[in-house]
Symmetry: C2
Subunit: 206 residues, 2 copies
Amino acid sequence: MAERGRPRNFDKDAALARAMEVFWLKGYEGASMADLTSAMGIASPSLYAAFGSKEDLFRKALDYYVASEGGLIWGAVTETHTAHQAVETFLMQTARVFTRRSRPPGCLVVLSALHPNEHSETVRRELVQRRAQAVTELRERLRRGVERGEISPAADLDAIAKYYITVQQGMSIQARDGATRKQLEQIAAAALAAWGPLTAPTPTAH
Amino acid sequence: MAERGRPRNFDKDAALARAMEVFWLKGYEGASMADLTSAMGIASPSLYAAFGSKEDLFRKALDYYVASEGGLIWGAVTETHTAHQAVETFLMQTARVFTRRSRPPGCLVVLSALHPNEHSETVRRELVQRRAQAVTELRERLRRGVERGEISPAADLDAIAKYYITVQQGMSIQARDGATRKQLEQIAAAALAAWGPLTAPTPTAH
DNA sequence: CCAATTATTTAGTGATCGACACAGAAATGG
DNA sequence: CCATTTCTGTGTCGATCACTAAATAATTGG
């Protein structure tokens, strides 16, 4: 049973992947419909018929990004045994994923819409929420480290999670500025040097 | 001796300060001429006569920002005695300056132009350069810490400087997402927890 | 074959972008 | 007073923005 009517003559998933790359590179506002249709190889009426609107397309591209690119980082994190390994993997995978050739540097979730704007405010809020979700996921991973006796119960898990997410977000800027994978790994290693003091029974020495 | 011709009807410095706030909040591309003229209280021909073009205006606003807002951070840093105090002051002043009421959150230098774009490419490159300059300045401050015997000669000063600048850049994102001053200070404190391991004679334990 | 349905193509829509032409207003120099 | 200079207000330029109406093409159901 094929669909009724004229069949679409482009691959919807492939077009979405192209759109994701354009948003990733240029940001939500910075990606024009001309940029998108050109990269996707279709005319704008086809885009609107298939995806709804620019904002709808972005949200689908965002889901696609979180599933594919985000999965590369968080998938590896879930395979770790200790909380320390989880954070180390999180930052090292970040260094790798943020610096792949022929992929835009940095993170789409972090970079796509940082400024308040009438036309992109709902998109911006969605991204703020996704960034907060990353903190929650990392904090949950740390909590299991406390249960295993790996992290001091006195440790401020929310602060630690926010700290490492903040480092990752800074790495997006660094990647955009042309940092190499090795440089990002050095930054990650420096951030990991705080692990001992942060998770030890006596958390911070003033 | 007053100037020849009709005198300017507005305060140029005050208008520049308004323009800086608009660019700071909305970014370079996101700040429209309508936004700027409205905030500056002048019509566009007056803006072009006084400042040249949108890009010229941005560069003047950028200089103004670095001198005023940047001075709040780096001025305090230069008054410190130890390298550790310098980095601590750098991050704590950042937490304060990024979260002042009725000022846009985060840093203009970090947030204004992150995406490549035909119309803003020269501005973007200027900002990349300024961010690299921050690394250089911090690294230079660390170097004096080595001379004082405060930091191990084996420490990788460039990596340490890049690390703390990266944390500050991540704090710009966090500030944009609504982080409070206290939350940014907790992030700063967590980042400072790495200081001991990073600067001790045995820098990183693998 | 025909009707119904869906997609693509062509050619635009009004709105907004940064920038400016032009004329009038407000000052100085003589 | 007049000429010169500089700034301001009105209006608008061509380009680009996201988006779409209308006609045509390609498929299925009967």
